[in-house]
């Protein structure tokens, strides 16, 4: 039990669970914000995988950290844009449920 934190497989299993739970939520949720939350979970799973490989396998342990930092920046930009789109959608439809957004402009 004490060797769990120095074993690559532990991190891979946790990251796989994060990714799978996030994917389940992405299919299961019916509101836009719920889908956004699930997408954040998927991104976290991916960055955890990067960090694990970076710690145990990579010759240069800086690269994975830099990549994870950039994933964080992109995810913050994505969340800002997605949330403002959600607010704009709510102003037009008075709802953020995905099934209510069913008419196109025209």
């Amino acid at each position: 039990m004490l060797q769990l934190s120095t074993n690559l497989n532990t991190y891979l299993i946790i990251a796989a669970f994060l990714f799978g739970i996030g994917f389940y939520g992405l299919i299961n949720r019916r509101t836009l914000i719920g889908m956004l939350i699930s997408a954040e979970l998927i991104l976290s799973g991916a960055s955890l995988n990067f960090m694990a490989f970076n710690r145990f396998l990579a010759p240069n342990p800086v690269v994975g950290q830099v990549f994870t930092l950039f994933i964080m920046g992109i995810a913050a930009a994505e969340a800002a844009i997605a949330l403002s789109i959600i607010i704009a959608v709510y102003r037009n439809y008075k709802s953020i449920a995905a099934e209510d957004l069913n008419d196109l402009k025209g």
Binding site: R29, I37, E40, A58, A88
Partner: protein, 181 residues
């Protein structure tokens, strides 16, 4: 019991705690009925991920995870819920029946496949590390080797800020009479 009181034993207990927080937080984030609880679950999960980063020899990334994800993203999602989801009890928030089952099967298959691939592959580690991966090395390579990407990320963030401001303003000016609250 004595083994638990050593530094290693306490580290193991902390590790188990943060990994449990990750999984339980993720389950709350996808399964809770109200969105605001889902955000709380997301924050719990991301704090756990920050703890895992700490165990992966990267305290800087752990701090950034808490600062950017739990701080900025979590708070802005919570604000968006307060602005856009004022009646959370009105209708079902999750798929039911067949859709839910389909989602569960997809997620379980993905998880199983990823775990099986990860455990059955023989990962070949590097023979030697060329630096220690400390915060000093990270800062050096962020400003030399990855300087261009660093600048591009800041441009992307600037455009995202301007874009979200423009989107918010546009939605407001289109229907000035409709917004009563």
């Amino acid at each position: 019991m004595n083994q638990l009181l050593t530094a290693q034993g306490l580290g193991g207990v902390v590790f188990l705690t943060v990994s449990t927080a990750v999984v339980i937080g993720a389950l709350i984030a996808v399964n809770s009925k109200r969105l605001i609880r889902a955000v709380t679950g997301l924050c719990l999960c991301l704090i756990g991920v920050a703890g895992l980063y700490y165990f992966l020899n990267s305290p800087f990334l752990a701090l950034m995870e808490i600062l950017i994800y739990v701080g900025a993203v979590g708070v802005s999602i919570a604000f968006a819920i307060m602005l856009a989801d004022p009646h959370p009890e009105k209708k079902g928030n999750r798929a039911t029946g067949l859709g839910s089952l389909f989602g569960f099967i997809c997620g379980a298959l993905l998880t199983w496949g990823l775990i099986k691939t990860g455990l059955s592959t023989h990962w070949q580690g590097a023979a030697a590390k060329i630096n220690s991966g400390s915060m000093l090395e990270l800062g050096k390579s962020l400003l030399t080797t990855y300087g261009m990407v660093f600048e591009l990320i800041s441009v992307v963030l600037l455009i995202a800020i301007i874009g979200s401001l423009a989107l918010g303003k546009k939605g407001r000016s289109n229907h000035p009479g409709k917004i009563s609250r």
